[in-house]
Amino acid sequence: MSTTVLTVDDSRAMRDMLRHSLAAAGFRVIQAEDGLHGLEMLETETPDVIVTDINMPRMDGFGFIEAVRRDVARKALPVLVLTTEVDVEKKSRARAAGATGWIVKPFDPVKLIEAIRRVSA
């Protein structure tokens, strides 16, 4: 079965971009528009990897990762942060919240796919 990737990003263009490049790599892509929407999707979906943005309305990436980690079953679920933020403090926060990795936009699809493959292996 193909690897399912949940992408969480409030930008439609970014979502389209992610869907386009990840689907081409054979992943099953499911998408949420912000943290809360992502949590809702997790009620019915069991992705193998999550790729999330940080700056989003309603619930940001930090809140989202923390909420994901609160679920015992998702302690080990790989969560990659994909963001334009280069702020060290934000990176530390993401790490403290339980993120698995940190990728700075604009992203290289090939490398992103590689990163997803490796963390989901």
């Binding site: 809360l36 809140g63 604009p106 490796r118 292996a121």
Partner: protein, 730 residues
């Protein structure tokens, strides 16, 4: 197949437009003091998101500018920069530049560098005024992008140090601040204190240890130098030092990443894999087995964060609340809605046909079939209304563009202008929304440029220096009404009259009411400005506005009070998909005349009809003369002309307020019809605007009143019909 990247690019630009609107609304709310705490975040996110997307498409200029803007907004967000009127002024101007950059990028052009530079300079100024220099130095450089595979400026290599003292450290009177001070000698520090393990005060052990420091050290030093700082406390703490360079992957972990791994691609791609916290602590403890004491359990708890009840409950509550918000709207492709509107249009026609057939078959009105059919008719109407409501949108999106326009025009004319808007929530069909922006823009330009007096004149007249332009939207009898009013000097009637005579629009001795004089400004070729100004002039006058409004089935008029100001009133149909029409017949053909064009219907008397040269007749009407148009003859249905007194006459008004009398055989009543494009389904026909399908299944043509009236005017020996009716009135 469509290029997927082109489609994504288009999505990005659409999104930018939405974000620009949000940005402007947010900034204006901040300026008016009506901003909510979330507003600042939303404003920041809008710019941040545009920057992120622009990076994908290598829109360098946009990325750079958005970055500067975003940095300043972030400072306001974190309260290191106060949102003073000066700062907000810069932000608003920056939003304008950002909008231009987006539009330029969309059209593959660039914006003059001087504009962005001027604003960047302004940003520097506000930053200097309200900012500690320290934060500026830490700022990341604007990402230099070359698109997807662009190199991203990689952050300087830094040591990551995680330092968690045990109680013994404090018991031995060690001071963490001194350690940090010592560490600072090695390079630039970035310190984050993690207090998440701090218990409630009641449960706090005064001799306990609860704090963890996350330290990022940028400097040219080796691990030994760092360890040296912690030399005396290493045994009484958990110390994890991660070097800046990735270490070679451990052989037992071939598929994964070693904690702290940084993968860097040739193109600058950077992926950092965070070490799992649990492994960290175990590793650290294994390295310091001597110090295992009772409190050593604490870090392990830290690794698996305790589940605090309240944040989870909070999150659930927030989620439940937001779930409602999620389901409140859905995004639907406009094509689908249009298709549905089309189908409902067909349904309405079909239903009407069915009713007619049932009637023809002589089925009793009280019969089951007739009653079910009546029910069907109600349902069909309701479906039509509901579907139309889907495409209805608040005029807000258009109103939001106006503050910027007002700022620009105010700056160009050196006037102080305040824009007041009302009724932004008024809904109207999307097709209408798209087409009201231009006339509205023109009306507002006109109100500021010609309506408002100069500041000096206002003060001399005892008025506030700041002029007010008011923009109001409201629903009135099934139409949307837009009003643009100013508190300026009102229309200078003497000058309008003078000008109209000068241009030959009216006769020198024409007797006109004040209202008629005011509305002369809508006549073609009329401009009251002594010189055509760059702002409202642009080579077009109010007649163009009137023309475009008329093309939408709308009307525009002006009322003015000397010294108090003028009000433009624009009324439009709520939709362009259905039309209120008068069903008439001409030489056996059924035609629809748009109701919006009809001024009145009359029965001409023979003694009021006067032949002009050629075959044109004019009708004497309340002291004036209006050319008469035989509809059947003008459309080529008939070779002969009907006798005026045998016909029904409709006084219509075309573009520019030009009037004519249309002669038809009979009027069959008023009806709402579904507009079908003639060009799409057949081809353009002169004199015919569109078509519709009647209840009996026959196609009826919708008359293009403007074209017919124009034709009549040219037939009347090139004489202006309005001139005819006005000059002969005396």
């Amino acid at each position: 197949m469509e290029d997927p990247m082109a489609a994504i690019r288009e999505t990005f630009f659409q999104e930018c437009e939405e974000q620009l609107a949000e940005l402007e609304t947010g900034l204006i709310a901040m300026e008016n003091g009506t901003a909510e705490p979330e507003t600042v975040n939303a404003v920041f996110r809008a710019v941040h998101s545009m920057k992120g997307g622009a990076g994908i498409f290598a829109l360098d200029q946009l990325v750079r500018f958005a970055h500067v803007f975003e940095t300043a907004l972030d400072k306001v967000r974190s309260a290191t920069l106060a949102a003073t009127p000066t700062v907000l002024g810069v932000f608003l101007r920056a939003a304008d530049v950002l909008a231009d950059l987006v539009r330029a990028a969309r059209e593959n052009t660039t914006v003059d560098d001087s504009r962005t530079k001027a604003l960047v300079a302004e940003f520097d100024q506000i930053n200097d005024a309200g900012e500690a220099p320290e934060a500026v130095t830490r700022e990341a450089p604007p990402p230099v992008s070359g698109g997807l595979f662009a190199p991203v400026a990689a952050p300087e290599p830094a040591w990551e140090i995680k330092f968690t003292p045990r109680p013994a450290l404090y018991a031995k009177a060690n001071e963490t601040a001194l350690l940090l001070r010592e560490l600072r000698r090695l390079g630039e520090l970035d310190v984050v204190l993690d207090t998440t393990q701090l218990p409630e005060l009641s449960e706090l052990d005064p001799e306990g240890a609860y704090l963890t420091w996350h330290i990022r050290l940028i400097g040219d030093c080796d691990e030994a130098a760092i360890r040296h700082v912690f030399e005396f406390v290493e045994d009484d703490s958990v110390l994890v030092i991660t070097p800046p360079e990735p270490e070679p992957a451990a052989s037992e972990e071939p598929a994964g990443f070693l904690p702290g791994t940084v993968i860097t691609g040739d193109n600058g791609f950077k992926f950092e894999f965070f070490p799992p916290p649990m492994a960290d602590e175990e590793e650290a403890e294994a390295a310091a087995p001597a110090a295992v004491a009772a409190p050593a359990v604490a870090p392990r708890e830290a690794a698996a964060p305790p589940v605090p009840k309240h944040p989870a409950v909070e999150a659930m509550a927030a989620k439940a609340e937001a779930a409602g918000a999620v389901s409140a709207t859905i995004r639907v492709d406009l094509d689908r809605v249009d298709r549905m509107i089309d189908l409902v249009g067909e349904l309405v026609i079909n239903e009407a046909m069915l009713s007619q057939r049932v009637l023809e078959a002589g089925i009793a009105r009280a019969s089951g079939v007739a009653m079910a059919l009546e029910e069907l008719e109600h349902l069909t109407r309701e479906i039509q209304d509901s579907v139309m409501a889907i495409r209805a949108q608040p005029v807000r999106s258009v109103f939001q563009r106006m503050p910027r326009l007002v700022r620009e025009v105010a700056a160009q004319t050196h006037k102080q202008v305040r824009l007041v808007t009302e009724g932004e929530g008024t809904e109207v069909d999307k097709t209408v929304i798209e087409r009201i922006a231009d006339p509205l823009t023109h009306m507002i330009r006109n109100a500021i440029d010609h309506g408002l007096e100069s500041t000096e004149k206002r003060i001399a007249a005892g008025k506030p220096a700041e002029g007010t332009v008011k923009l109001i939207a409201l629903h009135r009898s099934g139409r949307i009404v837009l009003e643009v009013s100013d508190d300026g000097g009102g229309i200078n009637r003497a000058r309008v009259r003078e000008k109209a005579i000068e241009n030959g629009v009216i006769a020198a001795d024409a007797q006109l009411s004040d209202d008629e004089i005011d509305n002369l400004i809508f006549l073609p070729g009329f401009s009251t400005a002594a010189k055509v100004s760059d702002i409202s002039g642009r080579g077009v006058g109010m007649d163009v506005v009137r023309q475009s409004v008329a093309a939408l089935g709308g009307r525009i008029s002006i009322s003015s009070r000397p010294g108090l100001g003028s009000t433009f009133t624009l009324s439009l149909p709520l939709t362009l998909a259905v039309l209120d029409g008068m069903v008439v017949s001409a030489h056996g053909h059924t035609l629809i005349i748009p109701l919006s064009a009809i001024v009145e219907t009359l029965k001409p008397r023979a003694q009021d009809v006067f032949p002009l040269d050629h075959e044109i007749n004019v009708l004497a009407l309340r002291g004036g003369y209006v050319p008469m148009v035989d509809v059947a003859a003008s459309l080529g249905y008939s070779e002969t002309f009907i006798e005026p007194e045998q016909s029904v006459a409709l006084l219509v008004e075309g573009e520019g307020g030009v009037r004519a009398v249309l002669l038809v055989d009979a009027i069959h009543g008023q009806r709402q019809v579904v507009i079908k494009s003639l060009e799409v389904n057949y081809r353009a026909v002169p004199g015919i605007g569109a078509a519709t399908v009647m209840g009996d299944g026959r196609v009826a043509l919708i008359l293009d009143v403007d074209a017919v009236v124009r034709h009549a005017r040219s037939d009347a020996g090139g004489r202006n019909a309005e001139q005819l009716s006005l000059s002969d009135a005396s």
